[in-house]
Symmetry: D2
Subunit: 158 residues, 4 copies
Amino acid sequence: MTKRCIAVIGSGEATEEESRNALEVGREIARRGAVLVCGGLTGVMEAAAKGAKEMGGLTLGIIPGEDPSSANPYIDIVIPSGLGIARNVLVVSSGQAVIAVGGKVGTLSEIAIAFVIKRPVIGLGTWQIEKARAGGNEIIFARDAKEAVKKALELSRG
Amino acid sequence: MTKRCIAVIGSGEATEEESRNALEVGREIARRGAVLVCGGLTGVMEAAAKGAKEMGGLTLGIIPGEDPSSANPYIDIVIPSGLGIARNVLVVSSGQAVIAVGGKVGTLSEIAIAFVIKRPVIGLGTWQIEKARAGGNEIIFARDAKEAVKKALELSRG
Amino acid sequence: MTKRCIAVIGSGEATEEESRNALEVGREIARRGAVLVCGGLTGVMEAAAKGAKEMGGLTLGIIPGEDPSSANPYIDIVIPSGLGIARNVLVVSSGQAVIAVGGKVGTLSEIAIAFVIKRPVIGLGTWQIEKARAGGNEIIFARDAKEAVKKALELSRG
Amino acid sequence: MTKRCIAVIGSGEATEEESRNALEVGREIARRGAVLVCGGLTGVMEAAAKGAKEMGGLTLGIIPGEDPSSANPYIDIVIPSGLGIARNVLVVSSGQAVIAVGGKVGTLSEIAIAFVIKRPVIGLGTWQIEKARAGGNEIIFARDAKEAVKKALELSRG
């Protein structure tokens, strides 16, 4: 039986608020028994993984480089992809839903990829996507980490 | 000596205006002696490649699937990547500059990837990117195909 | 703390002996507390994952396609890579050591990739690699599943 | 109309004989009007591209890194893939046939990938592949560069 996996995306250089949100998202994913998938590096990725580990959860980090030791210390399973930015596709595809916490242009690429490959995207203080071009795709905004994870789990059931 | 390569991105289902723009962009790229790179399929990709071939240019198509025959008939060199949507990274990285003609969520992913890997993006009726999050990256808008290619070539000199 | 991960590679159409070996390799990986990584499909991949689940282990399957439901039923975490055969790189890079059980040309590609990216390869009835060209790389042969896993764990310590 | 593309694979550190063979293979590919595809770096890749350029041919180099300037000086069109060793898949898939000149473990991975994705492989002093496991796949050996290219072109017609 496949485990529920939720991808958390966001910048490698997080603001304090983004770090707090990511930490809480990670905790809540673990509390709810899902696996946290992320890009395995710093910032939002590290805060989310730290939160998941605090609650005894399982974390998967898909990093762009080939050196497993460049993953943050809260990653249980490292995929040292060596694929550079193309690893963003894997982070998104490995989640049944995606939670975007803040984020810059790398996160924007992941949101767009999620739309293309039909993963629901839940947003916490992240990008606004121009509606007219998005073809019915949209970010589902959440007020806080708890709500974000709740929505992610609901949407990944389908 | 490496040839100048310009990537043209846009939807596989183009409007009439987008097709006209893409065709003219392709022609102008070929007139200026550059290689046209695209995703090799239909819509904007096909119109741009058609334009380039009309002017005797060279076209490279990096397709998501494994079957070379799924490329449009105006592609000289097909890369049947088999990488799915991860091929978007290659389309963008193969251009010294990128011209976005219209476009939907796939194009948005390519614009964002271009920002991450530092390729200038020229836009013809394409996405509006939220400034506050883009960290200094922006689409350079052009009024028409000629101006788009002119800017792409200027910006790919650096 | 990163978990120990062992990749098991082999054909999607296994002989009875290969299936028995893969099952026992999977069991032993789980008994020793390591994570089983594989290509997520049938044959050797399925037998190894089945063995790991029998012993309560954790399994990661990196599949070539985009549809998670094409993974075998013993995979806990599916990475629906969409990368086609390029996913072979990820299967190998995700293991700290690789165990090859039988195998055809796909397995040969994975053994060669393992040599390039410096993963030790333990073999159970698998390819003979021409020594003169392998530049010091070689498959370490094991007599049975238990020995294969023992060697894989020893070699992944370094 | 798609151009005929022949992939040339081999080590980044070529012997003198391999360099001579690769140079002559490159020349012959260009003489016959086909495009030379290679990994874009040194050794066999550079010698083959140099040969093709001597005869006025067209060369495509798919490099593992992100920096186009790491391609050898005989590459017309650089694809700075950023995919690491996964770019081997693209080198092979971009040729309608593959010529292996010498080669080490990287080349072995490319030969195996060629077998998986059904590209004919012509060999010039390269690996011996164990027949029993190769499932009907085999390297077609050539006596010299001219014969190698002749066979590659014949086999890529089908």
